[in-house]
């Protein structure tokens, strides 16, 4: 069964080696022809996800919501949105996924609720109701004056006046998303109840939204405060005690040295996203030089044992530019978003393919980096097809259009009338469903989808990619990025050393990678960031006498000698080479 070939469900450290797949349940597959994707539809498509080789699904918010912020405005934490199905339907998805060796984590927004949430409806009704202190109320809007406004395109202030209660309430994001007051122990208890509810249902963990802002204090930036860390440790302790193997993945859009605080001493979050790495991968390719990447790798501190970065190319939000300097931000805008509609807040709302001018070579290069740099890769649904976007849709909807399954009506996403769909599918001649869809790409062995599947299989065979050390190698050519991933002496959850060689492959057919036996080797990754062919000389002195073997075709390259090692790379070319002692 597939589970044995990938992630063992009894491995509590599975997330260190997992490939994540972020998906929008309402955009994945519509089973009941109402124009909205649902859980039953997702369950039907699990076969595809298993075939692709992903290990964990991250479901974007599926809770009841007025949907004024893509579902991040939750109006009930303890059930699912009725248009997606029932809680039982979700439980069935979880059960089926687990049978296939796939885990599921869900988005959880702890910082705020929708203003439609009964908690807020009650809280705003008077100044003395039982939930009067569940949110942050004030008589004026002078408090926390130094705190930056995140959605500065649309929100003039973090305070909004409520007519009924005749007070201001605090919100770090939209004005319809009031922040919860975690100084109130009842709020903490309520949120712990939410956590337990979903874990009891079988959810494997949470992607925690907007974590840095949970606690507030006057005179601070209201970010990364001690109370927030304390709360995370409390949730973690609860998970470790009652739900081992479940994870917390934090969204902390800050510099790496601030983010590592959220790993605590290995007693806070299991995973955090590495935000600054992402825009720099794009920048490196645009500048055709490696320094944007190597610089951020050099600044990324070590993380505690048992912790892992989550890395990604694109997600449901804009391409975040908060973590680049102003100068670099101007540069990214200029490069990737010439059309002002593509700009949003401090980011760019584009999908991967149009962001790279639909160049498959760049798509492969970026995914090659994603799958080989330190961290667990998080794919965004449909990027495996190099699907496009629709910048004419409002807010961030442009990157949330339906999955394209077939060239049929509505891209095979739904049998509903076109006008009924939650968002129109892409229909342009380049990225539209008639040109880009799962069915066509599965039939075509040379498609990007097949290429990515092969790369995922190779990645699973080499634990170095997941938990190995990274060493950037000197290369004389600045357009070439070379690094070596080497296995550490990792023990798995049961205290056994990990298999030294690659494990069995999920691939079949001819030309598949053949695992080599013996001690875990180093894997050399070489990438050409330029659109022109490039030569490079690498310093491989330490591996003198080794034979580099290309991982996809098992082709031996010339043996490493004491002289600089010469490689030539095609435009945007990548090599993954195992350094085998012979």
């Amino acid at each position: 069964m597939a589970a044995s070939s990938r992630q063992r469900l009894d491995d509590p450290r599975w997330y260190e080696r997992a490939v994540f797949y972020e998906l929008l349940p309402r955009g994945f597959y519509d089973s009941n022809a109402d124009g909205i994707g649902d859980f039953e539809g997702l369950r039907e498509k699990l076969e595809y996800l298993e075939w692709l080789g992903v290990d964990c699904l991250w479901l974007l918010p599926f809770y009841p919501s007025p949907l004024r912020d893509g579902g991040y405005d939750i109006s009930d934490f303890l059930t699912v949105a009725p248009e997606l199905g029932s809680t039982d339907d979700l439980a069935a998805v979880i059960e089926d996924a687990h049978r296939r060796g796939i885990r599921i984590i869900s988005d959880l927004v702890m910082n705020h609720t929708s203003d439609q949430h009964p908690w807020f409806v009650e809280s705003r009704s008077s100044r003395d109701n039982p939930r009067a202190d569940w949110y942050m109320w004030a008589d004026d809007d002078h408090g926390f004056a130094d705190v930056r406004v995140i959605f500065l395109d649309v929100e003039p202030s973090n305070w909004t006046f409520d007519q009924r209660r005749q007070q201001f309430f605090w919100h770090r994001f939209f004005h319809h998303q009031p922040d919860l007051n975690y100084d109130n122990p009842d709020v903490v208890d309520a949120m712990l109840g939410v956590v337990r509810f979903w874990l009891d249902l079988g959810i494997d963990g949470f992607r925690l939204d907007a974590v840095p802002y949970l606690y507030k204090a006057e005179g601070t930036a209201c970010e990364n405060l001690p109370g927030t860390h304390q709360l995370l440790r409390r949730i973690r302790a609860e998970i470790d005690a009652s739900y081992p193997g479940r994870i917390m993945l934090a969204e902390v859009n800050q510099w790496p040295d601030a983010v590592v605080e959220y790993f605590g001493d290995g007693d806070e979050c299991h995973m955090c996203f590495n935000f600054p790495l992402m825009p720099r991968m794009f920048m490196a390719i645009r500048r055709e030089q490696r320094f944007p990447i190597t610089e951020i790798l050099a600044q990324t501190p070590a993380i505690p044992d048992g912790c892992q970065w989550g890395i990604f190319l694109r997600n449901h939000d804009e391409l975040t530019l908060e973590m680049v300097t102003d100068e670099e931000r101007d540069y990214m805008y200029g490069e990737y978003a010439r059309d002002p509609r593509m700009r949003k807040n401090l980011g760019i709302r584009r999908r991967l393919a149009p962001l790279v001018d639909n160049d498959r070579r760049v798509g492969e290069l970026l995914h090659g980096l994603l799958l080989s740099l330190p961290g667990s890769p998080v794919l965004y649904y449909r990027d495996e097809l190099l699907m496009g976007d629709n910048i004419y849709l409002g807010d961030r909807d442009g990157v949330r259009t339906p999955m394209q399954w077939t060239p049929d009506r509505n891209g095979g996403f739904s049998r509903a009338d076109f006008a009924q769909l939650y968002l129109p599918p892409l229909m342009d001649p380049v990225h539209g469903f008639q040109a880009v869809n799962v069915e066509a790409e599965r039939r075509d062995p040379s498609s990007f989808l097949h290429w990515l599947r092969r790369m995922l299989a190779v990645r699973h065979q080499y634990p170095q990619f997941a938990t190995g050390t990274l060493e950037v190698l000197p290369a004389d050519n600045p357009s070439v990025l070379a690094y070596v991933r080497r296995a550490r002496d990792v023990l798995d959850g049961a205290g056994e050393p990990l298999a030294s060689g690659p494990s069995a492959s999920g691939l079949d057919g001819a030309g598949e990678p053949v695992p080599s036996a013996g001690a875990p080797a180093a894997v050399l990754c070489v990438s050409n960031l330029s659109r022109f062919a490039q030569p490079a000389e690498l310093s491989l002195g330490r591996w003198e006498g080794c034979t580099p073997i290309e991982l996809l075709g098992r082709v031996p390259f010339p043996r490493v000698t004491s002289a600089p090692y010469s490689v030539t790379l095609a435009p945007y070319g990548i090599y993954w080479l195992e350094l085998v002692e012979r």
């Binding site: 645009r286 500048r287 055709e288 030089q289 320094f291 190597t294 610089e295 790798l297 050099a298 100068e327 670099e328 540069y331 200029g334 490069e335 950037v472 190698l473 000197p474 290369a475 004389d476 050519n477 600045p478 357009s479 330029s530 659109r531 022109f532 310093s539 002195g541 330490r542 003198e544 004491s562 002289a563 600089p564």
Partner: protein, 399 residues
Amino acid sequence: MPPDPAALEGLVVPYLERQPWFLADMSRVDRSVRANARLADLEVLLHERPGLASVVVTVGGHSFHVLVGWREPALAPAILGSRQGAVLGICDDGSGEVLCYDAFADEELSAGLLAIASAGRESARRVRLVQSLVSHASLVYDERLFMKCYRVLEPAPRQEVELLLRLDEVGFKHLLGAVARWERAGWDLALVREYVAGAVEGRALALTSLRDLLGRAADEDRMQSEEVGAAGGDLGSEMRRLGEITGSLHLALAEAFGVRTLQAGDGSPRLAIRVHGDYHLRRVLRTDAGWIVAGFGDDPLIGRFGGGGERREPRFASPLEDLADLSYSLRQVAAEAVAVRPVATWAQARRLAESWERRNRDALISGYLGVEGIGTLMELDRPAAVSSLEALVAERAAG
């Protein structure tokens, strides 16, 4: 037993005469002077086999340093491989014939040099010879340290050594710090410094930027000069950062060596500092932690200092001189990038390259003038500084 000094001298002098770096200078020296080459210093470093000696030969006012290794002749081919040019000849070490050769051709001896140069404080498992230039050879140890072995010697302290040590003292950290110094008989023989793996010469980054710009112009056929900053490989931000590093280098040089007042051409007094003196895109390295100043143009035989065995005087000048050197090297590298494009595109490429040069020079100046305290060295406001700089660059282009 090491070979006898006279025998070594007899091998080293003809070997020197075969070296292009020796002749480069010696061509100016009379043949009769050449005949006066003599052994000035000999230190045997390893007495057994393989053996090693440091040999200094003086001729025509210059001193040359050769590291000589020796082994049994039967073993030598396996060690030297194809590096036959390194062979000096056969002599006797008391217990039989040995083959003598330039020690850089022998990895075992080259690796051992690190411990010798650092008086035993450093050692390495791997070594590679990266450069063999007119004035020195560079060896990299374990991708961690590199050693510059000087071939053409100068009386200690050699300017480069002095500059590195003083800049380090005043806290300028954007350089490859000195780790050990090998000094003997009044000469600096070698300097061991930190090595930054993965660093790239400024010139390579500039060429990458130009390749992108000129390549895109060829693809799109409509690139306008004003779009230069929007090209993917824009170097502007890097040049601004390099300007900042240059400003802090000048402040450190002023602190270490003082500020003088010199008379300008029109008789007016001008502030002068000890300048780098040979500041161009090969002298700076981009590392993962930003720019560093890699070297100081340490070459007694070439460059603006001219030849001659006498000790070179440190150069005090306007800090604009260094900026002009760097700006001029932007122009040179731009010309280099244009030259490899198809001839039919040269007119367009030149236009773009000029815009590129202007943009990056402006960024360099902006970074430089933005350094806190730089006003103490630079009396000119920005427009005046730019026009002085342009004049200095034009001077270099003309001369």
